[in-house]
Symmetry: C2
Subunit: 357 residues, 2 copies
DNA sequence: GCCTAGACCGAAACCGTTTACGGAAAATTA
DNA sequence: TAATTTTCCGTAAACGGTTTCGGTCTAGGC
C-alpha cells in the first residue's frame, strides 16, 4: 500500500551505481557494458520501473500533452471530433486535456490561459459563438506553441485550420430542395458572426441566385442554440405567417428535428407539403419520421486531420523548421432521405387537415 | 516570437536577488520585506510570469490532473457525464486527461497504464463491456491513487462508485408497461456481464414477478452495441415470431429508436399495437415518432458526484486521512411519453395493415 | 560597549531525469 | 615498457520551482 513509484535512484542504489549509469543503460547507450546493462534492465523490469513523465517534461521542456477546447462536449458533432482527436493523439504518444467553453468567450479565454500555463505542446480549439477577440490565441503564437483551429475558425488568425466545406454544404442542400421543385426555402440559421453559419448562409443565397429566385428575408430565422423546442417554435411561427415556406433548410439536425416535430403537430405532411433538410447527419437522422435529409460532416476525420497537422507543427518546431499553416477543407456529403424527396407525379393524395402549398 | 516563458530566475536576476526570495515574495511569506515583495510582484506582473506547473508537480509530487476513461466519447449519456466531470474538475483547479477504451479490454488496460505513468492524482473510469480482469485498477490502489468507478462498475473492486439505480429504473419501466395493460414484455438487453444491464434485467424480472407474469425467455434478445440497425433487425425478428410481444423495453434509447423504426416499417402502431420504452432520455427521445417513454439518467450529476468524491479522496490522501469508499446511487426518473401511453377506452380505431394484439 | 532578538535574505537540498565532461582502469599499440 | 587509445562509469549541471536551515545586519536592552 502507498508504495511510491520506483525511480532510477532506487535502481542505482540497489546496484551500487549512479543514476547516470542507470539512465544510460535504460536507453541502451553504447558506453555501458553489457553486464551492467543487463543488470539494470532486469532490475528495472523486476521493480516495475516506469519513467516519470513529469521529470521528463521538465527536463525536455515538452509535456506531450495537447490542449483541447470545444464549445460543448455534449454535442454529437463535437463529440465525434473529440473522438478523432483523442485516438490520433494516443497513437502518437500524446495525451489530451479537454475543456469546454460552453459557448462563453470568458471561459474560453480562461481555459486557453490554463492550458498555456499547463505547458501543453499544442492547442486544438473550436471557438465559442461569442468569441471575437483573439488575444488569448495570439499569446500561443507569441510563445511559438502550435495552434490548430477546427470547425469554428476565426479569419483573423494566421494558423492552421480544418473546416468542412460549409459553403458547398449549404449550397447543395438548398440546390437539392430547389431541384425538388421547392421555391420558398425557409432557413433556420445560427448567428452570422460564426464562420460556419455565415458560409452555409452564403451557400443558401447563392443557390437561390443560381435558380434566379429572389432572396426573401422573411424566410430567414435565427436560432442561437438550435434547441429543439426553440426551433419548433420558430417553425410554427414561420408556418403561421402569411407567406409560408414550402421547405426548410435548418443549419443543424437538432433544429431540423425540432422543425419536423412542429410540422407534425401542425399536421403538415413531410415532404409532400413541406420539405426539410438538416445539417450534420446525426445517427438519429436516419430514424426520424420521416428520415431526415441532411448534410454529412466528417467529424472524426476532422479531429484526425486537425491532430495530425498539429503534431506535424509540433515536430517542425522541435526541429526548428518552419511551421506551415495549411487550410484544410473537408468535403461534406448530401444524404438524401425521405424528408425532402418529392417524387413528382406519384405523390399520395393529401389528407390530414389539408394544408397544402 | 518563440519567447521562452519567464521564470523566477529571470525575476531574480533582474532584481539582484535569489530565486528563493522571489518564491517567498510571490507566496507572500512573512519574512520578506514589503519593499522586495512589491518589487517582485510588480516585475512578475510586468513580465507576465506564470509558475511552471510541471516543476511544481515534480516538487510536490502532485500533478493536479485527473485521468478519465470512458467506453465511448460519442455517446450521449457518456458525453453528459464527461461534461459534468470536466466542469467539476475545473472549478477545483484540476485538469482532465480523457481516454476512450472503445469497449476494448486491452485498450482500457493500456490507457489505465498510460494514465498511471502520467502520474494522475486520481482516476475516473467507466469500464468496458468486455472487462472482467481488474488488475489494472488494483495497481492504482497499490500506489494509493484514488479511483472512482461510475456507471459501468465492477463489484470485485473496493472503491468509491457512482451509479444510477438501474434496478429500479428497469423495474419502473416494466411496471409502467404492465400498468398500461401489457402482458408480453419484449426485452432488448445488453450483455449481463455488465452490471448496469444485469441490474436493469433484474428489475425487468422482478416487475414481472410482482404482477405474477411468468418469465418467458423467448421475449429476451441481446444486443451488444444497441446499434440502431441491429436493434431494428432484432425487433423485426421478435415481431415475426409466433409469439409476438405487446411491448418492448429496450435498455438504451438508441435501441428503442431502432425498434420504433422497425415497427413503423412493419406498420405496427405505437402505442396502440405495441408499446416501447427506452433508457437514458436522450434529447431526441422527445421528438421521435411517437415521443419515447424512457428512463432518465442524471449523467451530468453522475460526473459531478464522481469527481467530487474523487477529489475528496485525493485530499484525504494528502492529509493522510483514511479514504472512504462510498457507494452513491443516483435516482432515475421514468419519463412517460406517447410511445407507451395507452389511454384505455379512447384508443383510436385500428388502421394500417391491421396488426393487433 | 556587549548581548540578544528580530528582520530579511541567501545557500543548498530536493523532486526525477538527461547529458556534457572528465577520469580511472584496462586494452591496445609503439 | 611506455604511450596511447578504449571502455566504462562517475560528477555535476540543468530543467523550475519549494523549503529548511542559517547567516548577516540592525535595533533595542542592559
Amino acid at each position: 500500500m502507498k508504495n511510491q513509484p520506483v525511480t532510477m535512484k532506487d535502481i542505482a542504489r540497489e546496484l551500487g551505481i549512479t543514476v547516470a549509469t542507470v539512465s544510460r543503460a535504460l536507453k541502451n547507450y553504447p558506453d555501458i557494458s553489457p553486464t551492467t546493462k543487463k543488470a539494470v534492465l532486469s532490475l528495472a523490469q523486476k521493480l516495475n520501473y516506469r519513467p516519470n513523465p513529469i521529470a521528463l517534461s521538465l527536463r525536455k521542456r515538452k509535456s506531450n500533452i495537447l490542449g483541447l477546447i470545444v464549445p460543448e462536449i455534449v454535442h454529437h458533432f463535437f463529440s465525434t471530433v473529440v473522438s478523432g482527436i483523442v485516438e490520433t493523439a494516443e497513437v502518437a504518444g500524446y495525451s489530451v486535456m479537454i475543456c469546454q467553453s460552453n459557448e462563453s468567450y470568458k471561459r474560453e479565454v480562461r481555459e486557453a490561459q490554463a492550458l498555456l500555463d499547463s505547458r501543453v505542446d499544442g492547442l486544438l480549439i473550436s471557438m465559442a459563438n461569442t468569441t471575437k477577440n483573439i488575444e488569448h490565441i495570439q499569446e500561443y503564437i507569441q510563445y511559438g506553441i502550435p495552434v490548430v483551429l477546427f470547425d469554428r475558425v476565426n479569419d483573423d488568425l494566421d494558423v492552421t485550420r480544418v473546416v468542412v466545406d460549409d459553403y458547398k454544404g449549404g449550397f447543395e442542400a438548398v440546390e437539392h430542395l430547389l431541384e425538388q421543385g421547392c421555391r420558398k426555402v425557409g432557413l433556420i440559421r445560427g448567428p452570422l458572426s460564426v464562420s460556419v453559419f455565415n458560409l452555409r448562409y452564403q451557400g443558401y443565397r447563392d443557390a437561390l441566385a443560381k435558380y434566379q429566385i429572389p432572396f426573401n428575408p422573411d424566410f430567414v430565422r435565427e436560432s442561437t442554440s438550435f434547441d429543439l423546442k426553440e426551433c419548433s417554435q420558430i417553425t410554427q411561427e414561420m408556418m403561421e405567417s402569411a407567406n409560408r415556406p414550402d421547405s426548410i433548410f435548418a443549419m443543424a439536425d437538432s433544429a431540423a428535428i425540432g422543425a419536423l416535430a412542429a410540422l407534425k403537430s401542425l399536421k403538415y405532411r413531410v415532404p409532400e407539403d413541406i420539405s426539410v433538410v438538416g445539417f450534420s447527419n446525426w445517427q438519429m437522422a436516419s430514424v426520424t419520421d420521416p428520415p431526415l435529409t441532411t448534410v454529412a460532416q466528417p467529424g472524426y476525420e476532422m479531429g484526425q486531420t486537425a491532430t495530425e497537422l498539429l503534431l506535424h507543427n509540433i515536430e517542425a518546431k522541435e526541429k526548428e523548421e518552419p511551421q506551415n499553416q495549411e487550410q484544410v477543407c473537408l468535403k461534406t456529403r448530401l444524404i438524401v432521405r425521405e424528408s425532402s424527396r418529392k417524387i413528382m407525379g406519384i405523390l399520395t393524395p393529401p389528407h390530414g387537415n389539408g394544408h397544402q402549398i
